[in-house]
């Protein structure tokens, strides 16, 4: 019964999305104004129904209702409760339902709250949102129904991929989805603005909190995903340029660019067409990324559903949504009136440069991700990896960071470099100092440049606060400073890890010890342990940093039985200046019984700064979001007060 209830809610939500689209479109035409009052309430109802449908699926997973095909395929009664619930979105159908749920709720929220834009633009925006959602409803209902029943329920389910049975990962996909789908609101705003040609500061201000919110979620999602890959896959790396990682990075890059160009549009009324364009591109990248992952068109360690039929369906959706939006853009952008002018050396100029560099990085990542597909068309298969991505993206990343150090210090409209020259000298000298210090220490080029840049950037990023009254500095400025500082911190972590990590591969007997960088690690014993749905070989090791306090660490090699799979649970010791990373492998070959175990140990100086930096970036976004929303609310309240007083005075 519960499953059918969820399915009905989903169908109803889809029908309401259709109504929302029709009412919005008719409401925009002459003589159809009567229908326009319908759009906002329908959008709200659609969001609620989508939420109900999703809640139903979660309930089915929580109860492990094996008569539902999706549950039987992806869950297991012996799983801990939290992973049963997380299992609801750890598969193709469930994650698509999560997607439409978030999209419906976002649309409902916009419909209820946003009153700043002209009503016609709002109608077009909500109709656009309904149009995009409709495609996803059709996809769910026609080709991947999450509520499908089995005629004969199996006695037990297949289980969830054990790699996904991890707290971090249980909440990683929803975080990313909030980000992806939050960008759909920016997309709809762009469509609305193009339809009514109302591109201006009001449009940018309405869109900005959504872009900021989505961007915060994407930042957290990417940071968390990177940390998950780092400790769960047991490879000691934190970024693999895997298609799925690229799929999350590309919308982030577009959203970052959009965030900056929207500020220019909001405060200076420049970059109109470009901002609209980025609004379309950011969500398009979310959809393209999802498509590349879901269609199984690219070989990826993350792909869950390899199904050409589904792939074709999402591709058709992409073609209609993105193709339609870009056609609208091409037709309308020429008639969007020109924005304000500015000199090349100005805050706007720096932001344009940052935008172009971000777009270029986005372009080369998209190209690198798709390149295997292009060559496949010519019957050759290739795999594009770090040897391409690292240097090519650095070519654009390094100039962007240089401009990032100077840009926030420049004035709007027009400025002179010699005015900021003295201020910038401090970080520049620091960067050069670090560069000189590192010469001859065997650091390769990219980490070398990264270290020097990170040091300079860290100082440069707080410079916008100088000569300001810190108490009266707007939150948005604090946000910018925090986010830019976060970039410097993350960059330092990446460069430090690449330049100074120490790796050791050893085979040890119980009682033997080895040295990894400043750490001394002793293997005490290896013994089998059992968990709720796995067994493991667990190493008991003692690690001490430069002869200091001894810490006990226990890396495991786990074997799950539903489904059968091996995973590694690395053991980490975190210090302020880095992490010790330990993984246990198999019993050493060639000498069975003599009890030697393969161990992989890394000392990774300052590696944690990568993720702290990522979180700092997200925190900066959060500060900016709170600042923006608070000032919007204040303006709202003030306007309400004025209107109220006027009414009382009978004017």
């Amino acid at each position: 019964m519960i499953a059918e209830f969820g399915l009905v809610a989903l169908w109803l939500a889809g029908a309401l999305a259709l109504l929302q689209l029709v009412a919005g479109a008719v409401g925009l035409s002459k003589g159809g104004e009567a229908l326009s009052g319908l759009v906002r309430p329908v959008a709200a109802a659609q969001g609620v129904l989508a939420l109900v449908s999703f809640a139903t699926l979660v309930a089915l997973f929580a109860r492990t209702d094996l008569s539902v095909k999706l549950v039987a395929m992806n869950s297991h009664s012996a799983k801990p409760m939290i992973y049963k619930i997380a299992g609801a979105w750890g598969n193709h159908e469930g994650s698509m339902l999560l997607w439409v749920m978030v999209m419906g709720l976002a649309g409902a929220f916009v419909a209820m709250v946003e009153r700043r834009l002209p009503e016609r633009t709002m109608l077009a925006t909500l109709a656009g949102q309904a149009f995009v959602s409709l495609g996803f409803y059709a996809f769910l209902l026609l080709s991947s129904n999450p509520f499908e029943r089995l005629v004969t329920p199996p006695p037990e389910g297949n289980g969830l991929n054990p790699l996904l049975q991890d707290m971090g990962l249980a909440f990683h996909p929803p975080t990313l989805y909030f980000g992806y789908v939050g960008l759909s609101v920016a997309f709809s705003f762009a469509i609305g603005a193009l339809v009514t040609r109302e591109v201006g500061p009001a449009f940018a201000r309405a869109m900005r909190p959504w872009v900021l919110g989505a961007w915060i979620f994407l930042t957290i999602g990417i940071t968390a995903g990177s940390y998950w890959a780092y400790y769960e896959l047991g490879w000691g790396g934190w970024w693999f340029w895997d298609p799925v990682e690229n799929a999350s990075l590309m919308p982030w890059l577009a959203a970052t660019a959009l965030l900056h160009s929207a500020s220019v549009l909001a405060s200076r009324d420049a970059l109109r067409a470009w901002t609209v364009m980025l609004g379309v591109v950011a969500f398009s990248m979310s959809m393209v990324g999802t498509f590349l992952v879901r269609s199984g068109i690219l070989t990826s360690v993350h792909a869950f559903a390899v199904d050409p039929e589904r792939g074709s369906f999402i591709l058709a959706l992409l073609a209609i949504n993105i193709g339609g939006a870009l056609t609208l853009f091409a037709l309308r952008a020429g008639t969007v009136t020109e924005g304000k002018r500015f000199a090349p050396i100005s805050r706007e100029g720096a932001l344009v440069f940052n935008n172009v560099m971000l777009s270029a990085i986005l372009g080369i990542i998209l190209f690198g991700t798709l390149y295997p597909l292009v060559t496949e068309a010519f019957d050759t298969r290739v795999s594009v990896g770090p040897p391409y991505f690292n240097p090519v993206s650095a070519v654009f990343f390094v100039p962007m960071l240089l401009v990032l150090a100077v840009g926030p210090l420049l004035r709007w409209r027009r400025d002179r470099l010699d005015r900021v020259g003295k201020v910038v000298a401090i970080p520049a000298l620091l960067a050069l100092g670090v560069a000189a210090f590192l010469i001859g220490r065997g650091v390769s080029l990219l980490p070398y440049v990264g270290m020097a840049l990170a040091a300079g950037l860290a100082v440069a990023s707080v410079l916008p606060l100088r000569e300001r009254n810190l108490r009266r500095t707007p939150l948005a400025v604090w946000g910018m400073v925090a986010a830019h500082l976060g970039v410097a911190v993350a960059l330092f972590g990446m460069a430090s890890d690449s330049a100074f990590k120490v790796e050791r591969l050893v085979a040890l007997r119980a009682g033997e010890a080895t040295q990894v960088g400043p750490w001394k690690v002793m293997l005490k014993s290896v013994r089998p342990v059992a968990g709720p749905n796995w067994t493991a070989m667990e190493a008991d090791m003692f690690a001490s940093y430069e002869g200091g306090i001894v810490t006990e660490i226990r890396p495991q090699a786990r074997s799950f039985w539903a489904p059968l799979q091996q995973t590694t649970e690395s053991a980490l010791v975190t210090r302020w200046n880095g992490q010790l990373y330990a993984v246990i492998g198999e019993e050493a070959p060639g000498s069975p019984g003599d009890g030697r175990w393969q161990l992989r140990l890394w000392w990774k100086p300052f590696v944690t700064l990568i993720w702290y930096g990522g979180l700092l970036i997200a925190f900066g976004g959060l500060l900016a979001l709170i600042g923006r929303v608070a000032s919007d609310l204040r303006r709202f309240a003030a306007r309400g007060k004025i209107a109220c007083r006027r009414e009382r005075q009978g004017r």
Partner: protein, 190 residues
Amino acid sequence: MTNGTGEKRAPVRWALWLPLALFVGFIVVVLFGLLRPAGNEVESAMIGKPLPAFDLPAAVPDRPGLSSKTFATGENGGKPRLLNVFASWCVPCAVEAPQLEALRRAGVEIDGVAIRDKPKDVAAFLARNGNPFARIGRDDVSAVQMAIGSSGVPETFVIDAKGVIRYQHIGDIRPDQVPMILEKLREAEE
């Protein structure tokens, strides 16, 4: 910075269609990838030809390097061998590792060529994913890779006892393809 200047002048009309054109290009590429049969059965021009001569240094200390001469001697009792082209930075190669291990357990001798790699990274990769290789040659400039007609990683070649290339498998060996590879080895033995 074309975008900044484009903003100042009246926007150039054709430039506005550029994103759409790029997107159409994307759709075409993807459609091609999606609809063509997932054929690994690509006949290489090198099939039926002897292995080109090469002599590669060892990629890791605990395995010897790889020379084309070792293939033609028939020292392996006239059995055909697999030549696997891989790299530590290649994600599908890691995915493929269990299948290579299964082939090794089935008694197949596998030689490897590590493409554009560092000994340290190769060693780490093998420690991580297992080492099914009897010999591993180090090909830092993709010279051998080009010579044997491979354009990417991973690829696997069936080489018979006379040193002739009998089969080329492009992409990773999936678990369900292991029997097919064994069949190709059997064919090469005859």
